[in-house]
Symmetry: C2
Subunit: 434 residues, 2 copies
């Protein structure tokens, strides 16, 4: 096991030379930024994994500019963007929940982010004001020997596909990985503990939490006891973390860190299932990933749910430059004309109305099952396409996706599905098993 972990480290850990170079470059950039801040009550600060010395190779470096609370939000954002444009090359303004600027300096990628200098991390003014406190906490509490343990756990999370708290992934943030190592000591001891997690896990470093959260993993932020550091982690990714930990401890294999791309003759594999795979796609709105993916998930889940009469087995989605794509497998593609339509319970005040309505219009009934009224009626929509198009007419599937409702395409063929995405969907194996 040790030699395996050393091998992984040799791949992911930056060399002392690389680190030295990055430090020199970022110090130079800090000086440049400081020059632009003359006369303004603000201070640039390196934060994030590079500051905490838990970064992997080729990392981005985060520079925060901490402004006095006396400046308004508009000013600190505008001022930061101005500075960024002056000091970075090939820059891009990013407007997430919180705006920042991304670009290059001496060949290294930087994010420059405005925030407020606050005293109490429990009283933040913008979403990122807590970050400097996280940096400080980790620097103080993570032992030097544990930095490589963090790197291993980060790469493990990457390998099994759960690294990143952003909406596209819904996995572990870097900070959460660091806290897990502080909690459990080493990479291996973390996996040992995770492999024993049940349906819900509550962790903390200082104080036992007073509040409960509806998340599978709760890790109370040591710098703000009212915050769950693991709030982004989905139930699927939590589960994957548990299973992967157990499997890795049993089979220890480099594929957990560096999974392979799936291979296979997708058309033949599909033939063996002899089911129906449909392809739903819609134009992609031009919004940042965090907004995009939360809407894509909503759109995908809504579409999957309205197809329940077709016995859907599974669904997956991906986004390319043009469109959002759903791949859905159905056991049935066309339904009979009859539909069993459930009405109110017999003691409900609307039961009378239900009987009136269907008495002379139903194919069967009204009749009773258990304590509910039913009628067998003529089905309005017999195919997925009709149901989806009709549903979109009067339901929102996400503010930005809604604008492109008329670009929806429902195809009963796989020919326009990306072959790699289709293969991943069809095999649907754990990443380390490919």
């Amino acid at each position: 096991m040790e030699s395996l972990l050393n091998k992984v480290l040799s791949i992911i850990k930056p060399s002392p030379e690389e680190d030295k170079f990055m430090e020199d470059v970022s110090n130079k950039l800090i000086e440049k930024i400081r020059a632009f801040l003359k006369g303004i009550d603000a201070e640039p600060l390196i934060v994030g994994s590079f500051a905490k010395k838990t970064h992997l190779k080729n990392t981005d470096i985060d520079i925060f500019i901490r402004y006095s609370k006396n400046y308004n939000k508009e000013f600190i954002e505008k001022n930061t963007m101005e500075i960024g444009k002056n000091v970075l090359e090939r820059y891009e303004l990013k407007y997430a929940e919180h705006p920042y600027i991304h670009g290059f300096y001496s060949g290294i990628e930087f994010d420059i982010v405005p925030c407020y200098k606050i005293e109490d991390p429990g009283k933040i003014m913008t979403a990122v004001d807590r970050t400097p406190f996280h940096t400080e906490y980790v620097l103080k509490n993570l032992k030097e020997s544990q930095r490589d343990e963090v790197r291993l756990l980060k790469q493990f999370a990457k390998g099994i596909g759960i690294y990143g708290a952003e909406s596209k992934v819904n996995g572990l943030s870097g900070y959460l990985v660091e806290l897990l190592i502080i909690k459990y000591g080493t990479f291996i001891d973390t996996l040992k503990n995770v492999s024993r997690w049940k349906s819900k896990t509550v962790l903390f470093l200082d104080k036992k939490p007073a509040v409960d959260y509806d998340n599978p993993l709760i890790f109370i932020d040591p710098v703000d006891e009212k915050r769950n550091v693991a709030s982004a982690l989905s139930r699927e990714n939590y589960s994957l973390f548990v299973i992967a930990s157990r499997e890795f401890l049993k089979y220890g294999n480099i594929k957990f860190f560096f999974p392979k791309e799936p291979e296979g003759d997708v058309e033949n594999i599909i033939k063996e299932r002899n089911s129906n795979i449909i392809h739903v796609s819609i134009k992609r709105p031009d919004v940042v990933d965090d907004i995009l993916y939360s809407q894509v998930r909503k759109f995908a889940n809504a579409t999957f749910n309205i197809l329940r009469d077709f016995n859907p087995t599974r669904m997956s989605y991906y986004v390319d430059n043009e469109r959002i794509h759903l791949i859905i497998e159905l056991l049935i593609l066309r339904l009979p004309d009859v539909e069993k339509h459930r009405g109110p319970p017999i003691y409900d005040q609307n039961s009378e109305k239900f009987i009136e309505k269907w008495r002379n219009r139903s194919l069967s009934g009204p009749y009773i099952e258990d304590m509910f009224l039913y009628a067998d009626i003529k089905r309005k929509f017999r195919e997925p396409r009709e149901i989806i198009e009709n549903y979109l007419k009067d339901h929102s599937v996400g503010k930005d996706i809604d604008k492109f409702k008329d670009t929806i395409k429902v195809e009963y063929t796989i020919e326009n599905i990306d072959k790699k995405e289709l293969l991943k969907f069809i095999l649907n194996k754990f990443p380390w098993e490919i």
Copy 2:
């Protein structure tokens, strides 16, 4: 409404002449029985609806022979059968939970039933020992003017198909109908009350019940507070009673008492649904109705449930002299090869085994959804016939039906279904709406 009820009574109520004749005949029979009981500590007694004067036309008459508790069960049964054979014509021995003898005397049908003379109806020795107490209670508490109200409610229950507590019907017993009239006063007032029943109704005449029962209707037996007189009433029939009461009060129509036979071109009606109707049948075991129908129901429900992947809408059953028949409508008749197979939750101790088992044998996965492990596997059975036949191999569907497992027939056509039963199944209307 009054003239409608009078019309119904004119059809169902025995004439004074008929009653006089039946009384004379039954008294003569009582005398004959008494002669056979010389030297035995036992007494014949007319019980049931004829004794209570709440009988409909052409009723059977129940004669109980009440024995001293000193005799054992074998003796009182054998002795009663002997007497019955001597006094009745065209007799038949009936072995239900409790044996008795059925036959004719002067053209009238009689049941002669052995029971014990007990003092406390709360301490019965056989299932029927309470019956004389019921007769006594009704004679004492039902006003003469209410006898016709009982008759109307009995015929109403018959008309809507819920009269009889036996397993074939799971409806209202005659005694329960009488208690409802004692409780609510008249036929119309009973319906008014029933039409307002919610999902559960608890009734009593003397004492508020101390125990709860898992039945939609609880009516505490006034002669035994530990017994629910309505325990046989199914949730469907309870519901039908509520709906029928409401509808009758609104539309008052003789069809509620005397429903019509359904009519229609069944093949055309089926074509309109464009679904799949299958016909499952098995040889009928030679057991009494009460045993038969409870097993038929078990067989029917089990069959319906194992077909859930075929999206069954409805099921109905009937029994003829030869076989038990199920009619089942399915939205799908053949399933694709792939089947989504659910495993244990990720934190279950068997999750490891599930992964081992399917790792190299699945079509997809193992994978995670929510917190469960799944694998898409090759479906073993793609058709209802295969599933049903395989299920019967290692499941009991009723002690007596089990003996005929090898006579099962699963047909994907309606050609051997009784046309009237099929039409009833397809229309599935409330009896008064046909």
